[in-house]
């Protein structure tokens, strides 16, 4: 099947063409997966979230107004789902810790401990700050791309990035005093 441009594929997918939508999936799946992974931090959830995002995107195609590119729109869906999943995972982990209170804490390797601190600091940030910090510093997106995904101005992205990084540093300051 000849590969048309993205608009054509979207238009065909809207009329029910699974074939056209599969091409869109193949074009964007790795990117969607990487974004999901940034938020959820494991392969299993990243795959699940990215697949779910495509299924939802397909269902929402009639309402996609093409103001932004398909990739940006999809990115937004992935990010929302991934943040929800991360939130649920954290709640579950907190519940498990609570349930296992009194048991001696397992001593992980030092690297694991550091990563845990960083992840916790990151997830304690307010939603937008966290999204900006992840998209900008971990996923390497530009300010303009992030502003497109989050539907806010580039100035807002910069402000959230600045504040988010500042908070992270404050939370992790003790690591520099006593690195483990």
């Amino acid at each position: 099947m000849p590969v048309g441009d993205e608009r054509q594929l979207i238009s065909r997918a809207r009329t029910g063409s699974h074939e056209a939508f599969r091409i869109l999936v193949e074009r964007h799946m790795k990117h969607a997966y990487n974004v999901a992974f940034s938020f959820v931090g494991n392969h299993e959830d990243a795959a699940d979230v990215a697949q779910e995002a495509f299924v939802r995107a397909y269902g929402a195609l009639p309402s996609f107004r093409e103001e932004a590119g398909f990739g940006t729109w999809l990115h937004r869906i992935v990010m929302n789902l991934a943040m929800n999943r991360a939130k649920r995972n954290r709640a579950r982990a907190a519940h498990e810790v609570e349930a296992g209170e009194g048991a001696p804490a397992a001593e992980g390797p030092p690297g694991e401990d550091l990563r845990g601190h960083i992840e916790r600091a990151l997830h304690e940030l307010p939603t937008l700050q966290r999204a900006v910090v992840i998209l900008r510093t971990m996923d390497g997106l530009s300010t303009k791309q992030v502003s497109g995904i989050l539907r806010c101005s580039e100035g807002t992205v910069k402000t959230h990035l600045f504040r988010g990084l500042k908070k992270m540093r404050a939370k992790l300051e003790f690591l520099q005093e006593d690195p483990r």
Binding site: R22, K30, G59, R115, F162, L165, K166
Partner: protein, 257 residues
């Protein structure tokens, strides 16, 4: 401290500024102790954030990505549920793009006639190739059975995989409608001369479709759980795939000279 420069510190630290902007920043930082301190703190924070040398997606092999795309495709609603499904894609896309003026115009009736012809005609655009082959061989029952199994598979996968979001109950209205249509198809198929395995499977699917059609209009987690258990206990998705493979093999045999 300049707010303008402060907001550019990340870009400055990451080397993303244009040379004139970087120079402006540098000059300001050299003269402003507060911004120097901010830059130092920012670099410390960035040093703590893990950087990936390999994007996570690259850790997955080709097989994974093929299965990923197929997994998404299998979870998509059946094309028949969308308007214009079954038409050649170009015509459907054209109608979709111009649906308001077209439907408002006097040509609407003519288009409806075209749509009916295409809807009842071959659906080669979205259906698997063996269906078209079987149709060419004139085996209407096989074609209908194949189509019925494909729709059932997509629906059951959707029911199996649907997850409620926090605070938003699952809405199975479409699935209920689809299952009602599939119950009718199953009844018709069972009146046709089917092989024993297919007839048994159609019967089992009919039962599960009736269960799904009868789930409560409101959020009926219990009803859906029963349907899911039925799908798993009766191994329905596996049986569908097996029967589809047998039908595919039969089509291939008929095709070969």
């Amino acid at each position: 401290m300049s707010r303008h420069v402060r907001l550019l510190l990340y870009e400055y630290a990451a080397g993303e500024l244009s040379p004139p902007e970087a120079r402006t920043c540098e000059e300001h930082i050299a003269a402003c102790a507060a911004c120097r301190e901010e830059l130092r703190a920012l670099r410390e924070a960035l040093a703590l954030i893990p950087r990936r040398e390999t994007p996570p997606a690259e850790e997955r092999g080709e097989e994974f990505w093929r299965a990923f795309a197929t997994g998404v495709e299998e979870r998509l609603p059946a094309p028949a549920r969308r308007p214009f499904a079954g038409m050649p894609e170009k015509i459907a896309a054209f109608i979709h793009a111009n649906r308001v003026p077209l439907l408002a115009g006097s040509g609407a009736l003519a288009l409806a006639a075209i749509a009916t012809i295409f809807f009842l005609g071959p659906r080669a655009a979205n259906g698997p190739a063996p269906v078209a082959d079987a149709r060419a061989a004139g085996d209407t029952t096989t074609v209908m059975l194949h189509d019925y199994l494909r729709k059932s598979r997509v629906l059951l996968i959707g029911v199996e995989n649907a997850r409620a979001e926090e605070g938003i109950p699952l809405d199975f209205a479409l699935e209920r409608r689809q299952s009602r249509a599939l119950v009718s198809e199953a009844r018709f198929l069972r009146a046709q001369p089917l092989d024993a395995r297919s007839a048994r499977l159609v019967g089992e699917l009919e039962k599960i479709m009736i269960q799904l059609a009868n789930t409560d209009e409101r959020h009926d987690a219990g009803g859906v759980a029963i349907v899911r258990t039925g799908i798993r206990q009766n191994n329905l998705l596996f049986k569908i795939r097996m029967t589809e493979s047998v039908l595919d093999a039969g089509s291939a045999e008929r095709r070969s000279p």
